[in-house]
């Protein structure tokens, strides 16, 4: 009687601890490239990047991402574009704020951002609750 109880307790503990962990995950797009980064797997599984476009405005990189909420309920979350220079250094990390977004269930939203300066050549889209 005692052994099954102990096993059950171990499983519950493992589930609880897994729930507390915050490992980063990257959700890939259709091309297999990572598109959406998060340390919240539930949120990352409900959101997807349907389209990703970028262009140069002057010498600044300008990004538009079409986010889709695949969940049937409203999603209230924050997103941030992290910018990186040619050498992989993050550009102005503290000046890029997390931006609020509320998306209705099963809807799409375009989010846009401009690179903080011309040294940014690559970007990542991060989401959190």
């Amino acid at each position: 009687m005692k052994a099954p109880f102990t096993a059950l307790a171990a499983v519950v503990l493992a589930v609880v601890l897994a729930g507390c962990s915050a490992s980063n995950m990257a959700r890939p797009g259709d091309d297999g490239e990572p598109r959406l980064y998060s340390n919240n797997s539930t949120l990352a599984n409900r959101l997807s990047v349907e389209a990703l476009q970028d262009k140069k405005v002057g010498d600044l990189l300008y990004v538009q991402a079409t986010l889709e909420n695949g969940w049937k309920f409203e999603l209230d979350f924050q997103y941030k574009i992290k910018w990186f220079d040619r050498d992989g250094f993050e550009v102005a990390p503290e000046s890029q704020p997390w931006r609020q977004l509320v998306m209705a269930g099963r809807s799409q939203n375009n989010v846009q951002a401009v690179a903080p300066n011309p040294s940014a050549v690559r970007y990542e889209i991060w989401v959190r609750e």
Binding site: V57, G58, L60, Y62, Q78, A92, S95, P97, W98, R99, Q100, Q112, A113, V114, P116, N117, P118
Partner: protein, 197 residues
């Protein structure tokens, strides 16, 4: 009797630990919704939106292609009923614009102290004139940044709804033409919970 004392000691320890205060560092960019009043999240949203809008406006892109125009920040008129440090908003916008490498600024809030320093360098006899900064060599600002922050507040017994509108304009000082204008709207609603907590 011993058990009673032990219980009392335990209860006392719990009460005292409950009174202890604790200080933690938090994420400066975390969503701040303590009240419906103007807060740090609003400031960050406004500054980011204004700078992004300005940077992609085609005439501004053209204007900053080969040169870095000089701007000065006038002020943001606070037309809300709250006490809001609007200079903090313009400081953030100014920092982002400078760090973009597209604009330069003159700071009108330090003019008196700069004049004192120039007079010291010129007249005190303490400074080698070969390295002293010269009077009349400052660069005049070409554009002025200014704007308004207004709000509409509605409330009933259980709900408070606040609507903020931030407007920023870039004016050509010589021609008087507004070259760019940006707006950011924010709506915040605070609802009292069922039991009034």
């Amino acid at each position: 009797m011993v058990r009673v004392f032990s219980l009392l000691a335990l209860a006392m320890a719990l009460v005292l630990s409950g009174c202890a205060s604790r200080v933690d560092y938090g994420d400066a960019q975390a969503r701040e919704t303590v009240t419906a009043d103007f807060g740090s999240t609003d400031l960050q949203m406004i500054a980011t939106k204004m700078v992004d809008d300005m940077m992609v406006f085609p005439p501004i892109v053209e204007m900053t292609r080969d040169r870095r125009p000089v701007l000065f920040v006038d002020r943001i008129k606070n037309k809300t009923s709250e006490h809001i440090d609007t200079e903090s908003v313009t400081d953030t916008i100014q920092s982002k614009l400078i760090n973009s490498g597209k604009f330069r600024f003159v700071d009108m809030s330090v003019v008196d102290r700069v004049r004192e320093q120039l007079e010291y360098q010129q007249d005190s006899g303490m400074v080698d004139q070969a390295s002293a900064a010269q009077m009349g060599r400052q660069i005049g600002a070409e554009f002025m940044l200014y704007g308004n922050l207004s709000s509409i507040v509605k409330r009933d017994d259980s709900t408070k709804d606040v609507y903020y509108k931030f407007t920023l304009k870039l004016l050509n000082i010589q021609s008087g033409i507004i070259e760019w204008s940006g707006e950011k709207e924010i709506r915040k609603t605070r609802k009292r919970s069922l039991f009034g907590f």
